[in-house]
Each structure stands twice: as structure tokens, then as C-alpha cells.
């Protein structure tokens, strides 16, 4: 594979991964924490109404996991496409 084609494939793979992560980012915060907060509040997570928990706790935990997941997947992708540093 030529260098250009390989870089193209790397960029497309990166964009797909990014789209997946941003979809999760959107769903936990804007979806579960804002748009669906009322129906979700009829469920309980211990003493938390579920929608309220997503808005004040769950979304933040998910954001953290997302960033570390993306960093880990990208490091793999960098190596697979031979564009990693050193």
C-alpha cells in the first residue's frame, strides 16, 4: 500500500472511532442527562433518580472512560498504520 493510501485509511479509521466516541458522549450527557431525564427519573439507582444521576455523576464518569479508551485505541491505530512516534 502506498503511503498516501495508508494515511487515508488511518484518517478514515480515526474518524470512525471519533464518531463512535462522540455518539456516546452525546448520549450520556444530552440524551440521558437532559432530553430523557424525566422518563429516566422514574427509575432509581440506589437513592438517585436515574436521569439526575446521569446529569450529576454518570456523564462525568463516562467522559473519563471515553478519553482513556480513545487514547488507547488511537495508540494501537497509530502502530497498525505505521504513523506512531519513535
Amino acid at each position: 500500500m502506498s503511503q498516501n493510501a495508508s494515511r487515508e485509511a488511518y484518517w478514515t479509521a480515526n474518524l470512525k472511532l471519533m464518531a463512535g466516541c462522540l455518539a456516546v458522549w452525546f448520549i450520556v450527557s444530552f440524551g440521558l442527562g437532559i432530553l430523557l431525564v424525566e422518563p429516566l427519573n422514574s427509575f432509581q439507582l440506589f437513592g438517585y433518580p436515574l436521569g439526575f444521576w446521569f446529569a450529576q455523576q454518570g456523564a462525568i464518569y463516562t467522559f473519563m472512560v471515553l478519553i482513556f479508551f480513545y487514547a488507547w485505541r488511537m495508540n494501537k491505530l497509530d502502530r497498525e498504520h505505521d504513523v506512531h512516534e519513535d
Binding site: 439507582l45 437513592g47 462525568i60 467522559f63 497509530d78 519513535d86
Partner: protein
Amino acid sequence: MSLQLMTYLVVGFTFVVYIGIAVWSRASTTGDFYVAGKGVHPIANGMATAADWMSAASFISMAGLIAFLGYDGSVYLMGWTGGYVLLALLLAPYLRKYGKFTVPAFIGDRYYSKSARIVAVICLIFISFTYVAGQMRGVGIVFSRFLEVDILTGLLIGMGIVFIYAVLGGMKGITYTQVAQYCVLIFAYTVPAVFISFQLTGNPLPQLGLGSQVSGESVYMLERLNQVIQDLGFGAYTDGSKSMIDVFCITLALMVGTAGLPHVIVRFFTVPKVSDARRSAGWALLFIAILYTTAPAVGAMARLNLVETIWPGGSPETAALAYDERPDWFRTWEQTGLLGFEDKNGDGRIQYYNDANPDYAPIAEARGWEGNELSVDRDIIVLANPEIANLPDWVIALIAAGGIAAALSTAAGLLLVISSAVSHDLVKSIFVPNMSDKGELMTGRIAAAVAICVAGYLGYNPPGFVAQVVAFAFGLAAASLFPAIIMGIFSTRINREGAIAGMLSGLLFTFGYILYFKGVFFEPLAENVPENWLFGISPEGIGVVGMLLNFGVAFVVSRLTAAPPAHIREMIEDIRVPRGAGGAHSH
């Protein structure tokens, strides 16, 4: 030992640490001064970013804001953390690969235009000065409250400390000082929270305590809180009162604004590698999340403690607290003006309830109440928390040190981006292009010193609008810098004309909308109420519309004008892959 002496010792000790670090890590090149030589470990950078990000407002005011907003307070919790996902995925790795010193430098290079760079510098300086004035004010207030000096003296001490480590150490000094400041502020924040959570629910982890049952009873903490405040005519804590579209837009504007703030972005220029920039954003968010997931627990628990202190029987059916029997902390904070009592019905008791709720008015009248008699400043939730919960003196001293650390670390980070914009993006690139590295370093130091004096002046004589314009900073960052950077990385088609037109229209629209409702320099042109807002979006959330406008205008204008030259396309291809990210280089 008296509380006063203990506070002096704890705060004094932290100052000695900060100055020691500054002397140890002073900058010797412009690379050190602007980006700490790009040699900061990603975990250290994560801590420094967290301290940089969490200001006096996060430390002192946020829990109190949430305490009185309930669910609506979620806009700050999600908005000020979700931006890091955008930073880690969309900005940090590419800007690190680009490898120069400042955000305006990227915009100027990518859009092959000095005008674009100058527009970016203007946005940056406006955003950063707005912010830093608030921080210096915070420094002065914390000093005057805990050390009992007047605000001017407090401000001068704070300016002196920042002067020593920002001017001497530049980014390098600031980074390692911020690591120490993070440790101080997070310890100060979590210790009282753990005590209070344990007292109230028996669970020492505040994040779990908020979802637990009240100690010795089979009712959940949040249910109890909902019930006691609803009995007083307030809305349920776990429900909001803002409209859904407004909550949505404010959250998005804060997220995008966070990702567009220059002093946050520049922190990711300091790590050695592109992969470090991605990981470092994760560490930053982890360190921030420790405070941000604790804050809602502190807010809810303090609100419950406060209401149950004023209504000892736990319900308005029984008598309210008699003013003469008020606890010691009430007396202390009354003197500072953060708590106030006005006996409207002359019965000597403190009736605290929601007198703005028309449905509740008949009930209040039947009980002989003539209006809410207690005024509470939201800052008291964090500042007085240790006293309300009867915690030892050293915890109170710690809160003072933590508040000062939070304010100083953010102020220093902001002052640094202002001075780099002046020395690197204006003086070096526009006026004196052949300046030596030494000369530029000196210019940077002078710019930092001048910026500290201006910030100090603004902190002492805050223009009446400081509190109001904080919304500006986020909205403007969201509407101007963020779209320009994103399009610069993800599109090869957006050109100079498009980017400049986009930034200006986003900026002017957002600025205009906020001025229209807030006035700032003149009387507002329309009342700031939901009926008047565009699509029901408040000025706090309007940055989202400004951002969309920026994207749209840039797209259309770029289509109608010539595509960027070939070397710009190559530059974009190059920043998209990590390989080849070297050390610091200026031009």
C-alpha cells in the same frame, strides 16, 4: 493555637512551597517560558491542567450554585467536564503535532493570514482578561475573609506571589506550581466533604453518600431533601425549572467554550508527544472529576443541613429557629454579610421559605409569615461548611489555602497566555520579526508583569460587569476560536476568507446578543426573560448559535472564494498523523 495563627501557618507554608518551586524551575529559553520546553509528564500536565481549569469560582461558588439550583446545576457539572472529551478527540493531539507555541500562531499559519492571527489575539485577550479579573477579585476576597487583611493588601500579596513564579518561571514555573496547587486544593475540598457525608449518611464517599439513606433512617438523602424544600414552597431538588432547550444550549456552550479556552488548550502544547496529549486530557479530567463529582454532594448535603438548622423540627408545621438561639457559625458569617436576617413579621424567629412562589403565599399568610427572612450567599456553602458541620480548626485553615491555590493557579495560567499572545503573536510576529530569543523572553516577562498589574487593577476596581461577563468568555470562545481551530484541522477546503468571516460573525453575533440583554456598558435593550430570547435560549447558551453561525458563514464564504494553496493542504495532512512531532520550535 488560635484559628487565625493556624490559617497563617497553613497558607504561609503553601506560599513557601510555590516560591521554592518557582526558583527551582525558572525558564531559560522562550520554549521554557511558553510551553515548559515540551517536557512535562502527561500525569503532571493533567494535574496542572486541573488546577489551571478549576478557578476560585469552581472551588468556592460551584457547590453553592448547585445547592440552590438542584438539577439545573447539572449544566455546570456536564458543561465544564464534557469539554475535555472534545479537547482530547478533536483538538489537543493535532495542535500538539503542529508544535508551535500559541493558539493564534496556529490560526495565522493555517489560514495563511496575519489578519486571522490578529483576530485570534483579540478574542484571546478579551476572553482571558475577563476571566483573570474575576480570579484576582477571588484572591482578594479569600485573603480578606480568612486572614483579616483588607482586600487591597490581600490582592497585593497575591499579585506578588504570581509575579514571582509567572515572570521568573514562565510556563515551566507555572506548571510545577500548579501541580502543588492542585494537591492543596483537592485535599482542602474533599476533607470536609468526606466528614459531612459520613455524618449525614454514614458513607464516607460523598459520591455514594448522595445516593444513600440518611443515617439511622430508612429514607434516602435526596428524598428527604426534596420533601423538606417542597414543604417550604421550593421546587423539588432533583427537578429543574429551566426549559429543556436552554439547559441543552447552556451545557453545549460551556462544553465547546471549555474546549476553546486558550489557557486550557495551551497546556496540551507542553507534553512531549502527540499520544501524551491524548492521554493527558484523560488525566486532567480524572483530577477535575474528583472535585466535580464531590461538588453536587456538598451542595445537596449543605442545603439539607442549612434547612434543618433553620427548621429544627424538620417541617414548617413546627416553629422556626429563634434568632437568639442561632449557632456560632451563623453569628460568624452574619458579620461578613454572607448570611442575613430580617425579622419581617417581628416574631424573633427565622422563617426561611420561597416567597416568590404564588401557590405557597396563602399557606405562608395563614402561618403569619410576611416574607422570607433569611438571605444566604451561595459562597457560604463551601466557606462555612466546616463550621456548620463542627469540623476542627485545621480543616477551616485548609479551606483558605485551597481557595487561594485555586485562584492563583488559574490567574497564573491566564496571565501566561496573555503575555505569550503579546510577545509572540504581536511583538515578534508583527512588529519586530528579527528579535532574538533572549529579547523575546524579556518581552514575554515584561508583558506578564504588565498583565499582572492590569489584572490587579481590575480585581481591585472590578468594572460592574465582571460577574456578568464570565458568560462572555465561554460564549465567545465557543463562537470564535473553537470553530476556527476545528475547521482548520478537519477541513482542507476552508480558506482564509471563510475563517476570518466566520470568526467575526460568530464573535459579533454572540457579543451583540449578550449586550442586548445584559447591557454591560449601557442599559439593556430588552428585559432578560425567556419570552424575549431567540428560540428560548438565554445569553449564557447563545454561544451555541454563534458557533453554528461561524461554521455556516465560513463554509459558504470558502465555497465562493479560492481554495487554500497547496502547502496549506500539506500542512493539514501533516498535523493529522502523529509521526514527526519534535521538540519545541518557534518558526
